[in-house]
Symmetry: C2
Subunit: 280 residues, 2 copies
């Protein structure tokens, strides 16, 4: 199934626009996982199993694995999601971007090695750097548009000449992706929850295209503003990511059961709060 | 030693501005390496040992390793360079770019796990996405500015408002890096050899800052035009990368000795051709 259909189906099945981000930080793991060689996998597995029925997708951030020489645990957690929770798509958050011949290899890394259903990609190198990802027709390609961090404005907010006057660079990216790069309906965009006005602007530019929205929870984005700005015509089209606020909800808990259950509660509350603003 | 000093010293020691790119493609390896589990490492080691006295640096491209589950061989080849060819800096070509908390992990990946002396970084997320790399004060941070691929123009060539009229986005990146991000003298820029006019423009904007220039060889960039446009006031300040034209110079050779010796000959010729245009 194509990624965009997969994400829509999962969103309907679980009545959820919540994407659970997997940013595993061993320094914050519960005590009973400490010292285990596969602690990263075990932590992620507990989170995945506890939240799989309230999420629309999982988003492992590859740096949390690669900085710790834990690529094998990333492979294992993605395989676990596919096996135990089929139908829930995996977005590999890698923000890759390189010339075509290298991008082909990054696409193999994401889609064949890790078996991700979608990958995040940086648009700075332009269309031919994105095409090798798009060549995997069933996969999703999620382009950075307006990122949630303060420095995002340094380039993304610069004014360039548009077809009807000035537009910001992130608006140009949104138009390029929606108008030219998305020929096979595979694309989505990253727009940070810290900027609801820009979410709304991007929504105007891209029709019903899915938006991946990081920045609620630890980064401070507001859920009501995010959903009202970003929902598409069907009250869908959003993957609202929360990572740390869910993963470490149970920091005080000292048993394995405790942290996963605490994560589930926060995921459930977040899903329900998102749903409150999908229509109306 | 700081990266910028390391690269200058290596350039003087070997009288070379040639950066040898390590883009190992097993499909193009000589027959006697085929089937070896460490073929990627052995191929790169032979190239490194054959070219170490005519290069100013080595640039492994991480996707060539990660797409093939060969991170361990990347660690080994970098360790080999540090051990056998001390003083020759390693640039990890990874083009990372993410929000601060994630960028910290990418910096650990590049500088601690892989022990690279410098890493390439994508500027699209702005200053706070670059700072975690800059926090490693002795390391080099090489920002993408004007890339060598055709699609590079999609965003990098857009006109934005500058302090004295219009400027292109890549010029803004050059000014931001030189004027604001390079407070500790760690930065360099990627400018493709396929665009000599833009190399010259970037050189005007950034003083003597080192430029990493991919795109000669397989991508078709002209050496004379590149060197004349990019050399700094001391006839230095360039790391001119060639990967495929060197690595696969000996494609017809069927012995292990053959391909490395062929690579050495092309590296030597390339170094000498670069040197012809450094002054005058």
């Amino acid at each position: 199934m194509k990624f965009v259909d997969l994400i829509e189906q999962a969103s309907r099945d679980n009545n959820s626009l919540l994407c659970v981000g997997l940013d595993p930080d061993p320094a914050r793991f519960p005590a009973d996982l400490a010292g285990r060689p596969d602690a990263i996998f075990e932590f992620c597995r507990a989170i995945v199993d506890a939240t799989a029925d309230v999420a629309c997708s999982f988003k492992p951030q590859i740096a949390y694995f690669s900085a710790r020489r834990a690529e094998d645990q990333l492979e294992r957690i993605i395989a676990h999601i596919h096996e135990k929770h089929p139908g829930l798509p995996v977005i590999l958050d890698a923000k890759r971007g390189d010339i075509g011949s290298t991008a082909e290899l990054y696409a193999i890394e994401a889609f064949e090695r890790y078996r991700a259903d979608a990958v995040t990609v940086n648009p700075y190198l332009g269309r031919d750097s994105v095409e090798p990802f798009l060549a995997h027709r069933d996969k999703g390609v999620i382009l950075l548009c307006r990122t949630s961090n303060p420095g995002g404005s340094d380039l993304q907010f610069l004014e360039v000449d548009g077809p009807s006057g000035k537009e910001r660079l992130f608006e140009r990216v949104a138009r390029l992706v929606a108008g030219e790069w998305n020929q096979h309906g595979q694309c989505a965009l990253v727009v940070g929850a810290t900027f609801p006005n820009e979410i709304q602007r991007v929504r105007q530019l891209v029709g019903d295209m899915p938006l991946l929205v990081p920045g609620i929870g630890a980064q401070g984005g507001d859920i009501e503003a995010t959903v009202k700005a970003g929902r598409n015509s069907g009250g869908m089209g959003l993957m609202i990511n929360s990572s740390r606020a869910i993963l470490y909800a149970g920091m005080q808990a000292d048993s394995g059961e405790g942290f996963a259950e605490a994560a589930r509660q926060v995921a459930l509350q977040t899903r329900d709060e998102i749903n409150r603003y999908r229509v109306g």
